[in-house]
Amino acid sequence: MEKAVDKTIITVVGKDTVGIIAKVCTYLADNHINVLDISQTIIQGFFNMMMIVDLNTSEKPFAECAKELEELGEVIGVTIKCQREEIFDMMHRI
């Protein structure tokens, strides 16, 4: 049986440069992580991107993906955070 969707929110915040989305998406594709939704905007002059992804399709555990994405962020010069979706759902949905 297929595992249920395990939604994780990836946020990318930092100075806008060429190729941020491409680099993050390449990492996700390489690790078989399916992207469910992407939105992007500029908040107070900073590049802000939010992706909703399904980590269940990846072989790597959450902690490892989070760490590797954080390291990728350091290379690109942005902050990348992974958080499980429930924290946002709990706070913003009754």
Partner: protein, 454 residues
């Protein structure tokens, strides 16, 4: 589906407004450890604590990482030790060995504090209760992580004035034992009226006898989040003010509920309660006093402070109650002096006095908290301050507490440094007139008339 603005709002609260979960506390019953042999008792206690709480820190850190929410403290509370040690302990020194065991167990599982070195004496003291109380100075001095509390009064039983008198003396002894370190051990000791069985916050946490074998309680926080939300409604009327606090408290508490449920699931220990408290820290922007200022006061302590705090406390509860399936513990705004930069500023500016703080404790949780007083304060005067606080709790049917720090060798005008989350405090003046004859009467103050509801 969740949108980018909602994600941004949550992460802004965490990154810039000090939103955190203040503590995950496992309450552990030690009733099944009772033994008449002291050595065996200590072994059983150590084994039970280190077995049940062995994964607490690891699970706490996993939740922190996966949800991106800091969980500041992981802690343990146990059944009041006076009940557990009664059969084995023949002297205060025997009781102190149990404190050693608790300390060792706390270190073994990596929690920063363990509460429950406690006695419940609101009506009378057993021999064991008295021995435990007399062992407190030694126990707190030779351990690092053990916290102690004594319940001296309740609405149902009245105030045990013999115990109030004794605690005044004990507090000075604790101060004397740690006088080379600014009497810091006093911050690990608190006295209560109507102490809750399920409080996750130290120093007053213990695992009540009405509780299950093991249970998870979570204490949320977030004064900075409330303060920031209120900045956007400056000058608006009370309706808008209250709605804003309520909505913010709801959001903060939901995070606590999530963490509590997750911790409970992963540790396979039942979920107890979420404690809806606004708990400040000395960090800038994490202050309850700053919220009072944002509501419209120049300093905490100005006229209007009690009303503003009453409103704040009530709205936090109204917002929080809907956000959690079970609410308990202390649940309200904390007003410690040393742990709140805004409160320290108010003391330094002479805007707030001990008497005003006492009035504020009528409308919020918990009581006179982390207040440094001159080291030459008489034991009977300390007992008098405690008795006043107990009377407020008894008559108003609420929890009140006192955590005073008489700093040996220091007086008004001096400052004491407690370190870390405990902050620092200017020493506050105490009313100089005597209450010795009152305290020396002995016996107990009967329960108030409105406690007879049967």
């Amino acid at each position: 589906m969740i949108n980018i603005w909602e994600v941004h709002e949550t992460n802004k609260m965490i990154e810039h407004e000090n939103l955190d979960v203040r503590t995950i506390t496992i309450g552990i019953s030690l009733l099944d450890c009772i033994d008449s042999d002291l050595k065996r008792l200590n072994e059983k206690i150590y084994r039970k604590i280190t077995t049940i709480a062995k994964d607490l820190v690891k699970v706490g850190e996993e939740i922190e990482q996966e949800y991106g929410i800091p969980i500041v403290n992981k802690r343990i509370s146990v059944t009041p030790i006076a009940l557990i040690g009664g059969a084995a302990c023949k002297s205060p020194e025997d009781f102190a060995t149990i404190a050693d065991t608790m300390d060792a167990a706390a270190k073994a599982v990596g929690v920063n504090l363990i509460g429950g070195y406690s006695a419940l004496v609101s009506k009378g003291m057993t021999k064991a209760d008295e021995m435990l109380i007399r062992s407190i100075p030694d126990a707190l001095c030779r351990t690092e992580r053990v916290c102690s509390s004594v319940n001296l009064a309740s609405t149902k039983t009245g105030i045990n004035m013999d115990a109030v008198k004794l605690m005044g003396e004990i507090l000075l002894e604790v101060a004397e034992h740690s006088k080379d370190r600014d009497s810091v051990d006093c911050m690990k000791l608190v006295v209560f009226c109507n102490a809750p069985d399920d409080n996750p916050f130290m120093a007053g946490a213990f695992h009540g006898v009405t509780e299950a074998d093991a249970v998870i309680h979570v204490g949320v926080s977030g004064p900075g989040v409330v303060k920031t939300a209120l900045e956007k409604v400056r000058g608006e009327n009370f309706e808008t003010l209250c709605e804003t606090i309520k909505k913010t408290a709801f959001k903060v508490t939901r995070v606590g509920q999530l963490v509590a449920k997750e911790a409970s699931r992963r540790l396979n220990i039942p979920f107890g309660i979420v404690d809806l408290s606004l708990a400040p820290t000395p960090a800038i922007g994490d202050s309850v006093a700053d919220i009072l200022c944002e509501i419209g006061l120049e300093y905490a302590g100005a006229p209007g402070t009690t009303a503003a705090l009453a409103l704040l406390n009530d709205q936090v509860k109204k917002g929080g109650v809907m956000a959690s399936s079970y609410v308990g513990g202390l649940s309200g705004a904390f007003i410690p002096v040393s742990e709140d930069q805004g409160m320290i500023d108010a003391v330094t500016a002479n805007a707030i006095t001990l008497e005003k703080l006492e009035a504020m404790t009528c409308v919020c949780s918990v009581g006179l908290d982390m207040i440094a007083i001159p080291g030459d304060t008489k034991a009977s005067t300390i007992s008098g301050i405690i008795a006043d606080e107990m009377a407020l709790g008894m008559v108003n049917q609420k929890t009140t507490a006192a955590r005073l720090i008489p700093v040996i060798g220091k007086g008004v005008g001096d400052t004491v440094e407690f370190g870390g989350l405990f902050g620092y405090a200017p020493i506050m003046p105490v009313n100089q007139y005597s209450c010795e004859a009152f305290i020396n009467r002995g016996g107990r103050i009967p329960a108030p008339i409105h406690s007879f509801k049967n």
